[in-house]
């Protein structure tokens, strides 16, 4: 292992890490928003929007991100819809992630006892208040593990962004590999970089999940 090579190229990897993390988190935030919208459209049975959300979720979950990106980046411009590589990255990741987040929220909502919604209704809450104060907080607590799993999944998925010619970690490594030929060092740093990004997120997930478990959620029917 050539440590001087590794030290010399840390800045390259830092740059790549920022691209990976930046686009990853941007995509995650947009995915959460889109997922929430889809989930609410289905929960409140909003006509048209509900069916649109269901179709979208199926399309996004049953196609690879790589193919989605090719369509966005190389296909759509040919019919006059042109996005920058950066926009494609965020749109592509959001298209994929929104569907996964919607499913995470949905499973959270399904885990809330239907009687909770009735109890909220019985103290005169409007449907919106009921969702906001009673149902959604409980659904979110159940959905947190799935949401974090999606975050890690989405950040891993950013590794194909090199097809958009973005200098993410993968592309930095690939460029160094083809120019310098130090394959082992290049790959070692690539693994280390992904670990340094994903491990803290995983630790955060564990902490949040543990805190939620202790936050006073009791078994409904335990006496």
């Amino acid at each position: 292992m050539d440590w001087s090579f590794i030290l010399a190229h840390i800045p390259d990897y830092l740059g790549g890490a920022w691209v990976t993390l930046g686009f990853g988190l941007c995509g995650v935030l947009c995915s959460l928003a889109l997922g929430l919208l889809c989930c609410l459209a289905r929960y409140f049975r909003v006509p048209v929007l509900r069916q649109a959300a269901a179709c979208y979720i199926e399309l996004a979950r049953n196609t690879p991100l790589l193919v989605q990106l090719f369509f966005l980046y190389a296909g759509l411009p040919r019919v006059g819809v042109l996005f920058s590589a950066e926009a494609c990255a965020v749109i592509g990741l959001t298209f994929l992630g929104g569907a996964y987040m919607a499913e995470a929220f949905r499973s959270g909502l399904e885990a809330v006892e239907p009687s909770q919604a009735e109890a909220g209704a019985c103290i005169g809450l409007t449907p919106a208040q009921n969702i906001r104060y009673v149902i959604f907080p409980q659904a979110l607590a159940t959905a947190v593990p799935a949401i974090f799993a999606n975050v890690i999944f989405l950040i891993k998925e950013t590794s194909v962004f090199s097809v958009l010619a973005l200098m993410d970690l993968m592309n930095v490594a690939d460029t160094l590999r083809t120019s310098g030929g130090r394959t082992v060092e290049v790959l070692f740093m690539l693994v280390a970089a992904y670990l340094l990004i994903l491990l803290p997120i995983s630790v955060l997930a564990t902490v949040v999940e543990r805190r939620l478990r202790y936050a006073g959620f009791g078994d409904q029917h335990s006496v």
Partner: protein
């Protein structure tokens, strides 16, 4: 009857062609405690659920004072602010402390100032003997305590009528009386109530009038002393007999 606070007129409700309520009419006067009894699946819980709109009725009308409340969908939450309901499964919100459970309705649905509502909530918790539990999470409470909190939560909305749906059915036997005593207190303070229960001795103690439902129809209506000791219909007699046991024959 002019002083009826709640009027249920010939309501029908079926699930998948199964007629659960087949024309039920019932008036409840202000301050009256009506206990509804009947075998499992007779429609008594469905009746309560229809009254506060958790189930839509197929036909008939329900009036709360001068307001027709059946058939409404848009302002259902305004109707429900006037009708309290407590279920068998307590349904406290597990992510909120007891006090937040109690204040959610008054502060969000009724827009009352939090401090004022909180003082009132503490007072009512004190009345049911749970003042020291105001700031704990529901999971730390016993079933009987949860159910008393649920009663307070419903009462803080100052409902015109309170519906209790088998509120002791999920409780261990020794906790039943602590909950039912609260209900008897409420009755004494003049609360109008419709109560579905399987506790016949409690029914006899608290009721002004007993309504016996079977197969989606009201079979008998009578004051408790008549219903429990000299029911006029044969079906009510058979129902009451099911609560007694024949002792084992010994040779």
């Amino acid at each position: 009857m002019t002083d009826a606070i709640l009027r249920v007129q010939d309501i029908r409700k079926s699930f998948d062609g199964n007629g659960v309520l087949q024309g039920v009419s019932l008036d409840i006067r202000e301050g009256e405690v009506v206990v509804i009894v009947g075998p499992s699946g007779c429609g008594k819980s469905t009746l309560l659920r229809c009254i506060n709109g958790l189930e839509a009725i197929d036909s008939g009308e329900i009036w709360l004072r001068d307001e027709k409340i059946s058939g409404q969908t848009k302002n259902l939450h305004l109707v429900r602010q006037k009708i309290g309901m407590v279920f068998q499964s307590y349904d406290l919100f597990p992510h909120m402390k007891v006090m937040d459970n109690l204040l959610l309705g008054p502060t969000k649905a009724l827009n009352r100032p939090r401090q004022e509502a909180e003082a009132e909530a503490l007072e009512m918790l004190d009345r049911v003997g749970l003042k020291e539990k105001a700031y704990v999470f529901p999971r730390t409470l016993s079933g009987g305590q949860k159910q008393r909190v649920a009663l307070v939560r419903a009462m803080l909305m100052k409902p015109e009528i309170l519906l209790l749906d088998e509120i002791t059915a999920a409780l261990d036997p020794e906790m039943v009386s602590e909950v039912l005593n609260v209900v008897i207190d409420l009755a004494n303070s003049g609360m109008t109530m419709a109560i579905v229960t399987h506790e016949m001795r409690f029914a006899e103690a608290v009721a002004d009038r007993v309504v016996f439902i079977e197969d989606g129809l009201i079979v008998e209506e009578a004051p408790p002393e008549v219903f429990f000791h000299a029911p006029s219909t044969e079906r009510a007699q058979r129902f009451l007999q099911s609560f007694t046991y024949t002792s084992r024959r010994r040779p």
